[in-house]
Symmetry: C2
Subunit: 177 residues, 2 copies
Amino acid sequence: MNGKAIETAGALSSERAGDVAFRAMLCTLGLVERVMQPYFAKFGITGSQWGVLRVLHRAEAEGLPGLRLTDLSERLIIRPPSVTGVVDRLQRLGMVVREGMPDDLRARQVTLTPKARRLIERMMNGHGGQIDNIMGGLSRDEQTHFQRLLLKLNGHLDVLAKKIDSGIGGIPSTSER
Amino acid sequence: MNGKAIETAGALSSERAGDVAFRAMLCTLGLVERVMQPYFAKFGITGSQWGVLRVLHRAEAEGLPGLRLTDLSERLIIRPPSVTGVVDRLQRLGMVVREGMPDDLRARQVTLTPKARRLIERMMNGHGGQIDNIMGGLSRDEQTHFQRLLLKLNGHLDVLAKKIDSGIGGIPSTSER
DNA sequence: GTATATTTATTAGGATGCTAATTAATAGCG
DNA sequence: CGCTATTAATTAGCATCCTAATAAATATAC
């Protein structure tokens, strides 16, 4: 039940801005994934795996030696079971380690290995160029504006998502809106 | 190798606009999917399945009785094998039919069933409200602007994606940019 | 006219994401 | 203290997406 309705985002003149924007957004995201994929493949990992490495790298910069699966779940905005899978594969690749935590035997801390740190170092170099490559369709000003709109939209979506998570509210059905 | 590196899109002040925008975008994608999923589930289908139904509905409006798998692949911007899967499940749900084409025995035409048309009718009613719900984080003007930026970025990404598809170019490696 | 190339669709195998249900450990309440 | 509720992580089962490899039919080339 993973919804990824990507469609070419042509406007039918009769449609509202929100509608077109919505479809354009899904379309954009599909394209971004498609363009990024070969890039990550060159380093032998996937985009999701890079996400984990990146978050762990950031955590280190914050002074944290590692993160629990739950922390990763929160920072990556994916559910715990999904984290388990990605971390499993990263562990198989020798990129991370799962260590039991003394003070809470339920939790496991995920830590980067030296191998992962070397990879991150290597990837960080070309990363800016790759992003520029992707975002190059927009001018600097447009990128800034785009960013502002995205962050605002994200704030809104975050509220919606949290409502859904807490079971309350969710989505107003056709009849009650 | 499906890349979906969603991360919370916080800006580290030291980062460039493109970088933040890029992460915000991935983050948005994740949130949109998460919010849309329960909505589609209420109708017993997934977002991807809705994508197919919607495209077929549009095709009908264009006077086409149905579309080949390849046409769906192009319009949905997903690879043919993925289309096969989604259509399989829609067929199992009794929403579409695969018909052999007389003039080209390789191709199969996918057509909506009356059941699908009834569902589409029903979904179309609440759909605008759902989109408004999602896009409501932005004002009308912002939505319009957002749309403009997205379409522009899409044009750019389309070029990149086509380059990758044709094997030419691809991604400039770290050293050659 | 036959051999090769391209197109259409599918299968096989891997990675992600989700929900629901489980297991184990910690917290909290009476 | 002991029973219950919550939290952390995992497992099981679906649905999507992808790439690579096949099978079948059509197009093209010589």
